[in-house]
Amino acid sequence: MSARNEARLWLAQRATAALLAPCVLVHLATLVFAVRAGLSAQAILERTHGSLAWGVFYSAFVLAAALHGAIGLRTVAAEWLGWRGAGADAASAFAGLALALLGLRAVAAVVL
């Protein structure tokens, strides 16, 4: 990968971090409320079913987390496993894709 593209990955990592920060705060607050109200499928789905707002929020959250996580895993693999190069890049891209797909499926499951 070229230095410019590596710099772009770094930038994407920071940009998704900036997007994830408020999402995580909202998510943490939601968790606290949800746990106090009692964790049940009904309670969760009542909140999210048919909600465009939650749908948009969680979709953005998922996509940002998938990209952020994939780039992070790529760095950890390079530094701690010595795994670098085209194969490692492909693996982290696959991980990002898998996270995004599983995540969007989960969003669909609770919103639709």
Binding site: A21, L28, V35, A106
Partner: protein, 111 residues
């Protein structure tokens, strides 16, 4: 612990890295569990009943801690990299740790 590593900035790094890896490994499981709702509320409920067990509750608290810690460490990095440098930036590691602990406390007490 290697002596050269025993300082706040290094602790901030290792917590951020380990929490990130932990969250990345946890997320697929989280998404799969939520995806159970595709089979109707009952399927999700069955899992949630299982998750009432104390060990699972403890693990959930652990995950909240990982999220809070990773968030706090991430905010520290964004501050160090994008804000004009100030001497108090070195204290950000402590601030991050304090936030994560506070979040964990709030979550634990909410039960």
């Amino acid at each position: 612990m290697r002596p050269a590593r025993n300082h706040p900035g290094w602790w901030a790094f290792i917590v951020h890295r380990l929490s990130g890896v932990g969250l990345a490994l946890f997320l697929p499981a989280h998404f799969l569990v939520l995806g159970l709702a595709l089979g109707g509320a009952a399927a999700l409920d069955e899992f949630l009943r299982w998750s009432e067990r104390p060990l699972v509750k403890a693990a959930e608290w652990g995950l909240v801690m990982l999220l809070a810690a990773h968030f706090a460490g991430g905010v520290r990095i964004l501050a160090l990299e994008f804000l004009p440098w100030r001497e108090w930036h070195k204290a950000l590691a402590a601030v991050a740790a304090a936030f994560a602990l506070a979040a964990g406390l709030v979550f634990a007490l909410a039960r």
